[in-house]
Structures are given as structure tokens and as C-alpha cells.
Symmetry: C2
Subunit: 214 residues, 2 copies
């Protein structure tokens, strides 16, 4: 009995599976080959190089993100849902997140996400230039938040809390004369990364909504 023939979709699906979680910071072609039961270099028959493969994997990761806005009438609430969904998938697939962070892939799910976001910003009543710049600001905040949090997020729950605790302790241990603000505020830092993102997203959307109002 022979193996099912290799296709672009089979390869992307397997690579997407391997890109889960942060314990596997990047997918190697040798690992991917053995997951597919195929020689590592067989992948080059279907993708020009590894970057093209990872770009396809990254786009698969964006499947359904635009649809997070479905059924939400309020544009601000819909934009919040889309950006939270984007952040969730970037945290789950850090290797794909790195590819998306390099610039737009212009692949189908990414295009759908962009189209949806632009439409929601227009529904808010913004001028065209504000729509475009607001879109970039939302993406920049969400991607930044995701890449910053990805490493710690990949840790098991216990280690994650321990890491945050150690960071706070480092700040608390500083000379309070030289670093008065840090020494005082340290206990409140790194308490809840997801909350920080929600706060920042709210700041951006508040400003955008205000620019839209007459």
C-alpha cells in the first residue's frame, strides 16, 4: 500500500500542526518530512523555499479570524473581537506569527481580515485616511502584544506565573532612589498580560471613535 500523494494542503496542514505551541519555536523541514513520512527535500517539489511554506502556514492560522466579527452590530465591539481573535491565534502559533510580523503576505485569509477591519473602521464613520492609519495602528498593537507575550505564554501555567513573579522581584530589588517609579509600581506590573492588551486596544478604539464623532 502506497502513501497518499503529497499535496500543498497536506504539507501545510502538517506544518500547521507542528507550529502549535512555543516549545517548538520553529518547524524544521526534517521534522516535517518525517511527520509526513516523506524525504525532507520532497517539500521543494511543492514550495519554492521554506519561507513560502511558512507564509502559507501563517495564512492558515488566520482562518476564521475575520469571522470573529460575525453577528456583532457595534463596530467597536466587532473590532475588539477580531483583534482578540488575531492575538489568540498568534499566541498559539508563534512561528507563524513571526512570518506575519515581517510584513503582509497578501494571502486570502489575511486579505479577508484586512477587508473586514477596514469595513468596520469605515462603519465607525472615519475618514479614509484615518481608516487606513487606524488599521495599521490596530495591527501593530496586536502583533506587538502577541510577539512580546508569546514566549512566556508558551510556558506551563506554573512556570508562567513564576516568571512574572521573578520579573517583579527584579524590579523590586532595584535601588529605590535611582528608580523610584519602578520600585513603587513593580507589584502591579506583569499581573495579567491579556488585560494589558485589552486596555491598549481600548485606548486605540476610544481615540478612533472620538475622531469619528462630529
Amino acid at each position: 500500500m502506497t502513501r497518499a500523494p503529497l499535496t500543498v494542503d497536506t504539507i501545510v496542514a502538517a506544518a500547521w500542526e507542528l507550529s502549535h505551541g512555543g516549545d517548538a519555536p520553529s518547524v524544521s523541514l526534517r521534522d516535517l518530512g518525517s511527520a509526513l513520512g516523506v524525504h525532507p527535500t520532497a517539500i521543494y517539489r511543492h514550495f519554492r523555499d521554506k519561507h513560502e511554506l511558512m507564509s502559507a502556514v501563517a495564512d492558515r492560522t488566520l482562518q476564521g479570524v475575520a469571522e470573529a466579527a460575525d453577528g456583532i452590530a457595534d463596530p467597536v465591539a466587532a473590532l475588539t473581537a477580531v483583534m482578540q481573535a488575531l492575538r489568540a491565534t498568534l499566541l498559539a502559533h508563534p512561528a507563524a506569527a513571526r512570518v506575519l510580523a515581517e510584513g503582509p503576505t497578501r494571502r486570502s485569509n489575511e486579505v479577508a481580515l484586512t477587508e473586514r477591519t477596514l469595513g468596520l473602521l469605515r462603519a465607525l464613520g472615519l475618514a479614509d485616511q484615518d481608516v487606513v492609519e487606524g488599521y495599521h495602528a490596530l495591527i501593530e498593537l496586536t502583533v506587538g502584544s502577541s510577539v512580546i507575550d508569546a514566549t512566556v505564554h508558551a510556558l506551563p501555567d506554573g512556570e508562567r506565573e513564576e516568571t512574572y513573579r521573578r520579573w517583579r522581584a527584579d524590579y523590586l530589588g532595584l535601588d529605590a532612589d535611582r528608580y523610584p517609579h519602578l520600585a513603587e509600581l513593580a507589584p502591579q506590573m506583569y499581573g495579567h498580560a491579556a488585560g494589558d492588551f485589552t486596555f491598549g486596544l481600548g485606548l486605540l478604539l476610544d481615540s478612533l471613535a472620538r475622531r469619528a464623532a462630529p
Copy 2:
């Protein structure tokens, strides 16, 4: 005549030099060794591993960023100057930017930057919790903007414009019935990445200033 002895500072300075620009996406220990006239593995006598070295290089990259606020009385203007300085150095050193994007190094220049930023947010009149969350939002937007723009920013001027032009053309070529917003707004996208960052930063600071007001 014998070579000057290897020190932590010599190594960091040489690695910092090699980390300039985006044509060199990452510094290899073999390249670093030959730049120093030393066997690649000699570096392990001074750093535990490559990550510790790159963490030191990343902090060197932050030298002077906090001082971008010097002499600026208005907290909003000072915060703008600091974040623009941070973005500039992250764009110039993408390899270091990737290390900083993984989480806080808690090294001296980073600590100085954090302390300064917290102080400026407090000067704005914000409550402690808003100071902490506002700080994270500013860093997330700035890091996100920098990693997204770094790849294109590293291209020579002509190629950079050509790349943006190609991206716009890709969006313009889409089916206008399925993607009406993109098709219409494409000409205004990717016009000036630095301007997009300034806009997003303004949105965050506007919201923060409003929260500070009574």
C-alpha cells in the same frame, strides 16, 4: 605582538556592529569570532550562550533612548520622543529587536527606559494602574510597528518604494465586489510607514491624556 584580551565589552561592541541593518538578519558566532580575530568558541568563556550575548547587545541598542526625553517639558511630547527613539533603534538593529520582543531583559538601559516612561506617564496625572497598562500599550505598539516595518526598512530606498508599490498593486488587483474597501483604499495604504506609527502613537497618547484629565 599579541591581540588585546577579549572582554565582555569588546565582544558586545563587535556584535552590535554586526547587528546593524537588515541585510544581516542575525549574527553568527563564526562571523563574530572572525571579526574579533578569535576562535568562535572563545566567546563561551564570557557568555553562557548566544542568547545571553544577544541580550547584552539588545541592551546596548537601548543606550540613550530614555535620554530622548531630556529637556522636553510636556509629558506627551517627551513620551513621543522616547518612543520614536525606541522605534529608530529597533529598526536599525532588527536582530536585537527580536530579543527585546521576547520579553523584558531587565538590563540597565532597558530599566532606565522603563523608569523614564513610567515617570512621564505619572507626570501626565494618571492613576497607578493606568500608568502600568499605558506603559505596556506604548511598548507593544512601538515593538509591533518596528518588527513589522523592519524587513522593508532594511531595503535600499528604491527597492523599498517598489515593494510598497507592489503591495498596493496586489490589493488593487483584487475583485472589487468581494473586497470593496481594500480596492478603494489600496492607493492610500503603505504610503509612509513612519507616519502610520506616529498616528497610532498619537491615538494612544490622546486617550491616555484624556484619562488623566479630571
